[in-house]
Symmetry: C2
Subunit: 106 residues, 2 copies
């Protein structure tokens, strides 16, 4: 997974920080499926993800409306519900407007 190639700001970021339970049942498959589905949604710009003690997944979007649309997709809602009941002991979702960015590449 590379660093996401995002356009000039402003754009939007969803920071999803989570702590997993010890139950793996279906987790990896669903997580991969959700990334694949998100990537095909209108307004999706990219995603970055890492996990060790905690997991952080940041997805980038062109508008708040398209973030909301993705949140309401039926299969994603089922995954959110299973996340609360099975895979996560805690999580926090933060909806952000990216005001400025800069980077470095060798």
């Amino acid at each position: 997974m590379p660093i996401a190639s995002t356009p000039q700001p402003p754009y939007y970021a969803v920071i999803f920080t989570s702590i997993r339970t010890e139950v793996d049942q279906g987790y990896v498959e669903t997580a991969e499926k959700m990334v694949e589905m998100a990537a095909s949604q209108p307004g999706f710009l990219g995603v970055e993800s890492a996990r060790n003690e905690i997991g952080i997944t940041v997805s980038y979007w062109d508008s708040l409306e398209n973030i909301r649309n993705w949140k309401l997709v039926a299969e994603h809602r089922i995954a959110q519900e299973t996340g609360r009941s099975v895979w996560y002991s805690a999580y926090k979702t933060r909806i952000c407007r990216v005001e400025r960015d800069y980077g470095f590449e060798r």
Copy 2:
């Protein structure tokens, strides 16, 4: 490292996504020192960090001004410079305003 306890939005987030080189020389010590120093800066609200293929560190702040102040702290500037010359093959920094958040805890 737990999920950061942040106040009611709006507040600010700095998403720092990076890819490491294979050079570890001084990296862990400096990374830990920078988190410790950031935590003592005015306006610091919390930090979350995870790394496997890529690293994602999100720090939370009360204002853009305090984000700028931290960026300019001398020891942090030296760490940024060493990051470009030694530890990172690429990184991206995104400065965001957190508009909304919600969470779940068992």
